[in-house]
């Protein structure tokens, strides 16, 4: 039986199903806890479940806690061999609303793979900023206007937050590279303890990109070093995706409606320079330039 199926309600070209099926390809049959968010809406409506694995959605903030309960129960019942426990939660559920439960899950050392599906805003309610929305992004809560050029603050560094909790495996991935997602999900399960995998996932409606452009846009996020693909095992950086001929961030920004104002706004140049600085710092920090 398939672990995730057709007929789900994601927008044409959405990155989420690519991320989910690629993770499940790596984990095999597992127990899934899902936070409120796009994925929950598109895959779990009553009578229309797209899941071929045991699945639970409770509320927005507690998917890490629900998963912790499942993991502890499987352990107590001697049923750990029935499959790993996996969380799927969006960027808002992870970096904002559920960060307390996530911290607790890390802290108690549960044997769980936590997957953050990062489409960089609360997209199921129509593009409100989250802690993982990038600077300059136009959202309904950070609209670009006369004064502000979109969101001000940088993305929360969830990789560092996971590492600070001593998560045994911490990695980033992108829907631009589904086979890499599968490899990372598989690799993560070789470690016992809390694992964190953050996957950059294109939201065609929220970001304002054509369905056909979704994968090229996701690739550009990696090729500009705005979304570095990195992998830590037991706190050590073990692998990064190298970039040949790193591209300027404008190439990524200009394809998306959420950044369109940056090319006209009086403060746009400043924000683009700031984003380029973030990319340069990523490249330096992780040694991305090939």
């Amino acid at each position: 039986m398939k672990l995730f199926g057709s007929g789900h309600g994601a927008c044409p070209g959405c990155g989420l199903p690519i991320a989910v099926k690629s993770v499940l390809e790596g984990t095999g049959p597992c127990f899934v806890a899902n936070a409120t968010g796009c994925l929950e809406i598109i895959s779990s409506q009553y009578g229309k479940s797209a899941w071929g694995v045991p699945y639970i959605h409770s509320v927005f903030e507690n998917s890490a806690a629900v998963a912790a309960g499942i993991e502890a129960a499987l352990k107590a019942l001697g049923r750990k061999d029935e499959g790993p426990v996996v969380v799927f939660a969006g960027d808002g559920a992870t970096a904002d609303i559920g960060i307390g439960c996530l911290s607790g899950m890390f802290d108690r050392g549960h044997d769980i793979l936590y997957v953050c599906l990062d489409n960089e805003a609360y997209q199921n309610t129509g593009n409100q900023q989250s802690g993982l929305t990038p600077p300059g992004s136009n959202t309904t809560t950070t609209p670009s206007g006369k004064v502000l050029p979109g969101k001000i603050k940088p993305k929360k560094d969830m990789v560092s937050i996971a590492l600070a909790h001593k998560a045994v495996y911490v990695a980033t991935a992108s829907v631009a590279y589904p086979r890499d997602i599968t490899r990372k999900a598989k690799r993560a399960l070789e470690f016992e303890g809390p694992k964190y995998l953050q996957i950059h996932s294109v939201c065609v409606t929220g970001w304002g990109v054509d369905g056909k452009q979704a994968i090229p846009v996701a690739k550009l996020a990696v090729e500009t070093a705005l979304y570095p693909l990195v992998e830590y095992e037991n706190g050590q950086l073990v692998r990064v995706k190298k970039i040949k001929d790193r591209k300027p961030v404008e190439e990524y920004l200009k394809l998306q409606r959420r950044f369109r104002h940056l090319f006209k706004h009086p403060k746009g140049k400043e924000v683009i320079a700031e984003l380029q600085k973030i990319a340069d710092e990523n490249a330096k920090k992780y040694g991305l330039d090939a």
Binding site: H8, P12, G15, L16, I18, G47, S49, G52, P178, K212
Partner: protein, 98 residues
Amino acid sequence: MKITLGAVSRPLESLKIKTGDWGTEYPVIIEENCKGCGDCVVYCPDLCIELVEVGKDEKGKVRKVAKVNYDYCKGCGTCSVVCKHEAIKMEIKELYRG
């Protein structure tokens, strides 16, 4: 007597939702060009492409090509963009032709 308590959600019930009528375009596989690499399969967000056997190649090896299940294809065009062998082209559905 068997009673089902509460609302029971069963696996893969989504399969009864045919999303194939969402899009205005649909992909056409050009079989001669298809190398059976499976890239379109791993990228398709609607899990509606599979590789199917279509006989043997010159060396007697099983040849597989991509096949779309149009019941679910939303016409996003992702497959046509990721295919490196120009084996998928998008066409407008007859309903939407001018």
